[in-house]
Amino acid sequence: MRLELRLERSRKLEYLVPVVSVLLSLVVCAVLLLSTGANPLAAYSAMLKEAFGTSYGITEVLVKATPLILCGLGVMLAFKMLFWNIGAEGQLHMGAWGATAVVMTGWDGSPWLMIPAMMLGGFAAGALWALIPAYLKVKLNTNEIITTLLLNYVAILWVAHFIYGPWKDPVSFGFPMTMQFPEGAQLLRLAGTRVHLGFVFALVIAVALYFIQEKSRWGFEIAVTGGNPNAAEYAGMNAGRNILLVMLISGGLAGLAGMVEVSGIQLKLLKDISPHAAPYGYTAIIIAWLARRNPWGVVLVSILMGGLYVGGETVQITMKLPVNIVLIIQALILFFVLGGDILSRYRLVFDRPGQRPKKAALSGG
């Protein structure tokens, strides 16, 4: 078995691959579910119905999609430059912390002032956190996969320190959380739902990023640097400065995701601002990759993943299935897309055993 380069990339396959990948991952996950004695069809139909079958379900999907879009856009931008920012989870935590810090000053004012200040606090904290690995990469060529990832653990412990310690609400009965935010620090919600203004922010930023990517000179520089670093350098582009700028935005957006989670959903800083079984920051990596590095794609995939979260939580409660299937399905989809992408560029050729390929130089892999 070997791979042969196709003369032309198969257009049809390029659209078919994601669809088939989703189906295949559901099939594999069904096998896992069967092995524990659960009924996969019942589980899937319950998930689908809960997530997209009711208006309440749809609003909850948008709630989950909000931090995913923000983190996903940030990660996508970094990936576009081939900077492996897998630290969105930590940047999100720092953003939540930075936004909370604004509230913890004791300020209780108008939302017109407090919300922008918290957004700034969240963005800045996430951005600063992301600038550490960016700076180390630019100055010392330190592997950013490892630094961004390890800083996630540090950021989570940082938040834990504050909610178990100095910021702990004295009347929380020992629960690690801050007091509830004053009304001025809460994001506006759509009446009767948990959908909040953060979703609008996320859409606006997606539009802005689209224009930056497609229409600006800087967006062009990022694409060139990611595609061919040598050409970028030859053209006089400053890769180091671009890495710092990209990470500033990337971390800032993840920070903003943390801000909207505390200000729009939790209304306080607490331990699980990101679901433990499938953290937003890690899902964002999958989203950025599946979205083909396209901002619209990020929005679309985030909404689908939001559906997976809502569905997963439902079957956890109603069918007692481990919520881990959310993570499993996500990862399987990505694996199938990875493999499928190769098949849209190469053709799989089977050689009959014993028969040598006509040109030895053509056999590979």
Partner: protein
């Protein structure tokens, strides 16, 4: 409770070896994979798969050794996904590895649900007659469990195979210049598959150490970033199995220290202490990247690059 400083230091060093051992296993495996040119950033997921496979089998059979063997097999099988996707299909190694971590986290959590709260069989401490009575050193190194002793054996063997055998030469040449190795009759595909599977088995062992020796239970996401820490230590070790030992125990020392300092009651906030192993790893990585910039000791030249004969 007052303990003399020396007793305390010995206790910390002994704990450092214990704490460093799972990482040492993983590190040796990853050095082999990377030496052959395949980066596997899925170690965290592989460790978790090893930890749950080792624990469930060890628990149901009632024998930790069987659990460890199962963990190594599970690690190897799970890493087969990465091998197939990156070697045969030539997909991006980083994305595949990241996905492997996410999948491993999900699968271990899924199958681990019924194991939460169970206490499994574990490895007992064995004092090696004679050696264990050496002052300090004997206490630190030779009052450990069987898996620690296994790691003592594995390090020199891994070093010897890598630098003194034909196999090691083949592995290194495949990682440095696969086209040349290929033209000399070395099968790039076979060597890489072998190294990735070995790396997976070792990561499985490292995971099993956590659930069968370091503790005797399964906790969701119990690897706590050790897979990622290992990736940094591989760079620190300059892809040399012998140096991996130093790095692993250094990390183990930080881990052991933060636990002891808490117990002694020194006034540093708990969560800052818990950051110590991660911060130390980042520091080590920064120092290693400075050193490699100055002395130009680099990664294997073909690390991360798929090999396609026809595109040579």
């Amino acid at each position: 409770m007052e303990a003399s400083p020396l007793v305390l230091v010995v206790a910390v060093l002994q704990a450092a070896v214990r704490s460093g051992t799972p990482i040492l296993f993983v590190c040796i495996g990853e050095i082999y994979a990377e030496r052959s040119g395949v980066l596997n950033v899925g170690l965290e997921g592989l460790m978790l798969v090893g930890a749950i496979a080792g624990f469930s089998v060890g628990y149901s059979v009632g024998n930790p050794v069987v659990g460890v063997i199962a963990a190594a097999i599970a690690g190897a099988l799970f890493s087969l996904i990465h091998a197939y996707v990156t070697i045969t299909l030539r997909a991006d190694q980083i994305v595949s590895g990241l996905t492997l971590t996410i999948l491993g986290t999900g699968i271990s959590g899924f199958f681990g649900k019924p194991m939460i709260g169970q206490v499994g069989p574990g490895f007992d401490q064995i004092a090696i007659p004679g050696l264990s009575s050496i002052p300090i050193l004997g206490q630190v190194l030779f009052r450990q469990d069987a898996m620690v002793y296994l790691s003592y054996l594995l390090v020199p063997i891994a070093w010897w195979v890598m630098y003194k055998t034909h196999l090691g030469l083949a592995i290194r040449s495949v990682g440095e210049n696969p086209a040349t190795a290929d033209s000399l009759g070395v099968s790039v595909t076979k060597v890489r598959y072998g190294c990735v599977l070995f790396g997976g088995a070792m990561a499985g062992l490292g995971g099993a150490y956590l659930s069968l020796a370091y503790t005797t239970m399964w906790i969701e996401q119990m690897s706590g970033g050790r897979g990622w820490i290992t990736l940094a230590l591989v760079i620190f070790a300059a892809w040399n199995p012998a140096r991996a030992m130093l790095g692993a125990y250094l990390f183990g020392g930080a881990d052991a220290l933060q636990l002891r300092v808490q117990a002694v009651g020194i006034e540093i906030p708990t969560y800052f202490l818990m950051m110590l192993p991660y911060v130390l790893t980042i520091t080590i990585l920064v120092l290693a990247s400075r050193a490699s910039m100055r002395r130009r000791i680099g990664a294997p030249a073909a690390l991360g690059l798929p090999y396609a004969r026809e595109e040579r």
